[in-house]
Amino acid sequence: MTARSNSMPARKLPLLTPETEAFWTGGKNGELLIQRCGTCGLYQHPPLPICSACRTETVASAAVSGKGKVKTFTINHQPWMPGLDEPFVFAAVELDEQAELYIFSNILAAPEAVTSGMRVKVSFEHLDDVWLPMFTPDGEAGDEA
């Protein structure tokens, strides 16, 4: 399934900034890094210079389990550009660490097999200096609605 993803046209990569670099490069060490507040414990994504809840600067990247569920998803059928290997799945993944902690990604699975509530786990696609977090079905866990 990773091969399928790699056959797509070049992905437009994110610009790395002081705030976002950890998120986009944690995959180098096999880690999904999400910003967490050292004062109140809140995870926040997208990453920012301060905690949006307690407004302290005690935010730092923390490795999370990389597990979660598909909150909602879409199967893209539109060939936006030549070579795009549609259909593919674009989804909001809710991470296990905190309610409503979402990251967007592709689900590397047969589109018809993807459902809302499906358990997924992270993997990484290395392109240039970026390790894009991607998700695959987590066969070991039961799905929830």
């Binding site: 997208p46 893209n76 936006w80 909001a92």
Partner: protein
């Protein structure tokens, strides 16, 4: 502050103008802009020289794609006027209505008397040069955090991919589906038939809707609005001057606004609500009127799902009830209990980008709807935006 002192109570809408939607147009974006502006000025019955404030949304942008190809400076030059006030309107503001809100505040604070607000698009022409010009990839080598950096790397090149997530979540939560959603498009097309400026005027059925190609599940072709070339102008005037002009003044009973951060990747809740909820709260907190007082509604429909989310955000439908309200099309017909998107909305009239909705609200209140006229329409809700949010409750007795 007493309600009669609110800025929106010091200002009226006194004229409107709109070009036909072109796909593409054989006229330049500046020509289209001037056509709409001169129409609005003539409609109000003021002299061109009386316009002392000029603003457009979101300001002329170098980003390309025809999203905002005309600015206030060249419009000022061509109109031969010397406005004392203008201001940038921005994608970061409360939706497309931001320019109108700023115009209201400029008049209410005494800076000027007649503000011309316009919105011009040339996205159809831009797409003739490059089909990818309207995608979210931008023209830089990498996507930056303010510009869909968390979604574009995943081949989510269009806003449709993002809004599809909301449609699927709404389906999952409320147990509705594509047949209900299809009625948003069918409803608008039925009304566009009677709107001479609309780009698509041939009625469609639910079967046509379901037979159309899938873009990004569950959103199909007719769930998406269409890029066009066109321009709309809305003239705002100080209340004390408005009463002596050609049209009965349209009062702004209340306005609401809020910010969003979807392009920056921030989403909260369960994907069935947007920050438009804040906008709805603000609007209803500024008036004694209630949703029952609304005679017709022009609800932003860049994508069909926007209509469900917006109707609930501005309390015209209860939570989870918008889908059932529109399904079948009776309650939202011209003769229904809440005629909806009577110009066809953006799905059928074309992406006038929010300004079509305000234009149509005024046309209805002035009784100009022809075969799409809502009998006795005195109060209309107009709302704009998917990434920032604005709403006005308009009234004309």
């Amino acid at each position: 502050m007493k309600r009669e002192d609110y800025p929106e109570k010091q200002v009226c809408i006194t004229g409107i103008g709109q070009t036909k939607a072109g796909r593409p147009s054989d006229r330049s974006a500046l020509q289209l802009t001037l056509e709409a502006c001169l129409q609005a000025i003539d409609d109000a019955g003021i002299s061109v020289d009386d316009v002392d404030g000029l603003i457009c949304h979101p300001g002329k942008t170098p980003e390309g794609g025809g999203i905002s190809p005309v600015g206030t400076v060249e419009t000022m030059m061509a109109l031969g006027i010397r406005p004392v006030w203008t201001n940038p309107s921005s994608h970061e503001g409360p939706g497309h209505m931001a320019a109108i809100f700023q115009g209201i505040m400029a008049i209410a604070t005494g800076l000027c008397k007649h503000v011309l607000c316009f919105r011009s698009v040339a996205q159809a022409t831009a797409r003739m040069t490059s089909r990818s010009s309207t995608l979210l990839t931008g023209n830089r080598e990498r996507v930056d955090p303010g510009n869909n950096a968390f979604t574009v790397p995943y081949h989510a090149y269009s806003p449709v991919n993002l809004w599809a997530l909301y449609a699927q979540a709404y389906f999952d939560k409320y147990g509705v589906g594509e047949e209900e959603l299809g009625w948003v498009a069918v409803n608008g097309r039925r009304h566009a038939m009677h709107n001479p400026n609309a780009i698509y005027r041939k009625p469609i059925t639910i079967d046509d809707y379901l037979d159309a190609r899938m873009i990004s599940t569950p959103l199909r072709l007719y769930d998406c609005d269409s890029h066009i070339d066109g321009s709309t102008a809305i003239l705002l005037s100080a209340k004390d001057l408005a009463k002596d002009l050609k049209n009965p003044p349209i009062n702004i009973e209340a306005m609401g606004m809020s910010m969003g951060a979807f392009g920056e990747g921030l989403h909260s809740g369960d994907f069935t609500m947007t920050p438009a909820e804040v906008c709805g709260d603000m609007l209803w907190n500024r008036t004694d009127w209630t949703p029952k007082d609304v005679d017709c509604a022009q609800i932003y429909d860049g994508f069909s799902i926007h209509v469900w989310l917006w109707l609930e955000a501005v309390r015209l439908c209860g939570r989870g009830e918008a889908a059932g309200f529109i399904a079948g099309g009776e309650r939202t017909a011209i003769t229904g209990e809440l005629p909806l998107n009577t110009s066809g909305g953006q799905l059928s009239a074309g992406r006038f980008h929010g300004y079509g909705h305000t234009h149509e609200a005024c046309a209805q209140l002035w009784g100009r709807g022809g075969e799409r006229q809502v009998a006795g329409a005195k109060t209309c809700m107009a709302v704009n935006g998917g990434y920032g949010y604005g709403a006005m409750l308009l009234n004309c007795d």
